[in-house]
């Protein structure tokens, strides 16, 4: 009884806070809806502090369907970062477009509950329910700016592909359930261990389930929704969508393949290594040709999923520790970059997010440009910034488990990626501005981008503290 309550306590706390947020939303006046978001930040920090596990703490609940441990906590930390930064960065953007509603923050808050369940699930039913909670929230966030055709399209495309992919996931799941007779990860692993992989059922089930999960992390060739969805969604929502759901799906994939499909390690390592190579290469090559910075970052989000997959393939402890660290770092730098993009206002004829908008920004707005420079350098993986440390640990994990060729492809890719990230900084500092561009900097988004930039530097210089945070993670 007690262990049940302890294992579900963080999610329970978050649910209670989420319901309180709905009430706050009703009470809040029409012009003070941003307060809902700020209350959400307060709540999420309280929940985070209340659920810190110590050292190698690990507690199973509800007959082994749910677990709370350092691993779940590290991912909860990533979601909290994503929520805090996107909320701070979103207030001004949403207000300017007249869509500042409390629901934006409540839905984001509830999506985090779904993600937490995904990562801490040790049963397929909890994984599925959490995944759908997350997915439905994301469809709503993508289509939130309903007066804008692009946002409508983005939401609908995400919805169709999301529903289609979860149907494929479920079809695979049904075969795995049929073969093993259980939805619990441990039982599945035992059945596969005892009966081997010669049965077609389990192979078909595995491939379809992993393909369904690969849709969620936008791995090539299951990526076709990602660029349009990320480009069309409201920019702060895009920042959140590129970080939190991806982290959650990564966490869930690692826990699932590590426990349930542990006897089939060779098979899924092959599957994910092919996906990793395709994802990194495709994302980077297409990003090279983009002139819209938001779309470029969408393709870069695809390629970053590829780097994270290297951590899955390496299948050792350092591998998943570095995935948690990488998603954390990626959260800071990517949401920071999206916050700054959301502030640009081009008074010329072209779209706000075109790369030409960045021309001459370095002289006009030195602080903002410096922050953007930090994010771009970090995304490119230039030392001593955080992005470099993240990639460094991922590649170390790959080398440690002997898949050096994958690490080499990763390094080559991050060199290619330098080009398009550098291009933004070159436009900022070395080009004369053609258009009249304003940076609509208000306190909240200023704080968000500064926090993000500060953490990118801190993690880059002192990575050991953050590595300690994930050191006690055991799947």
């Amino acid at each position: 009884m007690v262990e049940n309550l302890v294992s579900i306590m963080p999610e329970l706390l978050m649910t209670i806070f989420g319901l309180i947020l709905i009430v706050i939303d009703v009470i809040a006046g029409k012009n003070s809806k941003s307060g809902v978001g700020y209350f959400g930040i307060f709540f999420i920090i309280v929940a985070l502090l209340a659920s810190i596990p110590v050292g190698g703490f690990k507690i199973f609940g509800f007959g082994g369907t749910l677990v709370w441990d350092m691993y779940s906590f590290a991912f909860f930390f990533v979601f909290a970062i994503a929520y805090i930064l996107s909320t701070l960065g979103s207030v001004d953007y949403l207000r300017e477009r007249g869509i500042l509603k409390g629901e934006f923050y409540t839905i984001m808050f509830f999506s985090i509950i779904g993600m937490m369940f995904m990562v801490s699930a040790t049963d397929l039913s909890v994984l599925y329910a959490g995944m759908e909670t997350m997915a439905i929230s994301m469809y709503i966030l993508a289509g939130f700016e309903k007066g804008n055709l692009k946002s409508n399209e983005s939401g609908l495309k995400y919805f169709i592909i999301g529903a289609f992919s979860s149907a494929i996931f479920l079809f695979g799941l049904s075969y795995i359930y049929g073969y093993t007779g259980s939805t619990k990860y441990v039982d599945i692993a035992n059945m596969i261990q005892a009966n081997g992989l010669n049965n077609f059922n389990i192979k078909l089930g595995m491939v379809m389930m992993l393909a369904g999960l690969a849709f969620k992390i936008s791995a090539v060739p299951f990526h076709m929704w990602a660029p349009d969805v990320y480009t069309g969604a409201p920019t702060p929502a895009t920042g959140f969508m590129t970080v939190a759901p991806k982290a959650a799906a990564m966490g869930a994939i690692v826990r699932f393949v590590w426990i349930a499909l542990e006897p089939a390690a060779a098979q899924w390592q092959l599957f994910f290594s092919i996906l990793a190579v395709l994802t990194m290469t495709y994302g980077n090559l297409v990003a090279l040709a983009q002139n819209n910075v938001k779309r470029m970052l969408a393709y870069s989000a695809i390629s970053h999923a590829g780097y994270m997959l290297i951590g899955v393939v390496s299948a050792n402890e350092l591998g998943y520790q570095s995935i948690a660290l990488y998603t954390m770092i990626y959260g800071f730098m990517n949401i920071g970059a999206f916050t700054i993009i959301s502030l640009l206002k081009n008074n010329g004829v072209i779209e706000n997010e075109r790369i030409e908008s960045f021309a001459g920004l370095g002289k006009k707005y030195p602080v903002v440009s410096l922050a953007m420079l930090i994010f771009m350098f970090s995304l490119a993986g230039i030392p001593p910034l955080a992005g470099f440390m993240g990639k460094f640990y991922i590649f170390t994990a790959a080398v440690k488990s002997g898949i050096i060729w994958l690490a080499i492809i990763g390094v080559i890719n991050s060199v290619i990626a330098c080009y398009y990230y550098m291009r933004v900084t070159i436009f900022m500092y070395f080009k004369e501005s053609e258009y009249d561009v304003d940076v609509n900097m208000k306190p909240a988004s200023f704080i968000a981008s500064m926090i993000a930039a500060l953490f990118v530097i801190i993690i880059g210089v002192f990575p050991s503290f953050f590595m300690d945070l994930v050191k006690y993670m055991i799947v």
Binding site: I8, T15, G18, I22, G61, F62, G63, T65, L66, K101, E103, T106, I107, F110, S111, I113, G114, F117, D123, S125, V126, Y128, A129, G130, E132, T133, I136, S137, Y139, I140, G143, F144, K146, G155, Y175, G178, Y179, T180, G181, S182, M191, N195, N199, F200, N201, K203, L204
Partner: protein
């Protein structure tokens, strides 16, 4: 008798789903989908899942389908949106066919290897499907049940936000 029932229901399900995806008018598609749902409900009854069959009729046929019909009639879409590009037509059919053959290959060796549970025919006769179902739902599957309730709340908020006028 059981065999005959299965073949009739399966035939109905397959035919109506083929008609569903080939009708140009979405209202006709929705009505053919209704027939599919009813036949699948019949198959659930054959599989000792009376409760699921009832839910299938209530939720799918009663709620989801009405929602679809409501939206189709509300919007009255002009664009038919049927196949025009042969390339996509071919690609779609080939992709599905590949999946279908894969699954058929699987079927050759399909059997259940997991250990047999306690819910046998006799248990159903003694306690009834609904009672056993409720026991299973609220003992082993309590957590996902609660998560689904959160998901329904999110969907409700989202649907209101997206569809209401400001």
């Amino acid at each position: 008798m059981e065999q005959l029932g299965f073949y009739i229901l399966a035939f109905l399900a397959i035919i109506s789903s083929i008609f569903m995806i080939t009708r140009e008018n979405p209202v006709h598609s929705a009505l053919w989908m209704l027939l599919t749902f009813f036949s699948v409900a019949g198959i659930f009854v054959q599989l000792n899942a009376e409760f699921i069959a009832a839910i299938q009729v209530l939720v799918y046929a009663g709620a989801i389908l009405v929602l679809y019909l409501f939206v189709v009639m509300l919007l009255n879409p002009k664009s038919k949106g049927f196949i025009r590009i042969p390339f996509r037509y071919v690609l779609g059919i080939v992709a599905s066919f590949v999946i279908f053959v894969q699954v058929l290959l699987t079927l050759q060796s399909a059997n259940v290897i997991g250990k047999a549970g306690v819910y046998t025919q006799e248990a159903y006769k003694q306690y009834g499907n609904v009672k056993l179902f409720g026991y299973e739902l609220f003992s082993n599957y309590l957590v996902p049940f609660e998560v689904v309730s959160i998901m329904l709340l999110v969907a409700m908020i989202g649907a209101i936000v997206l569809a209401k006028k400001d």
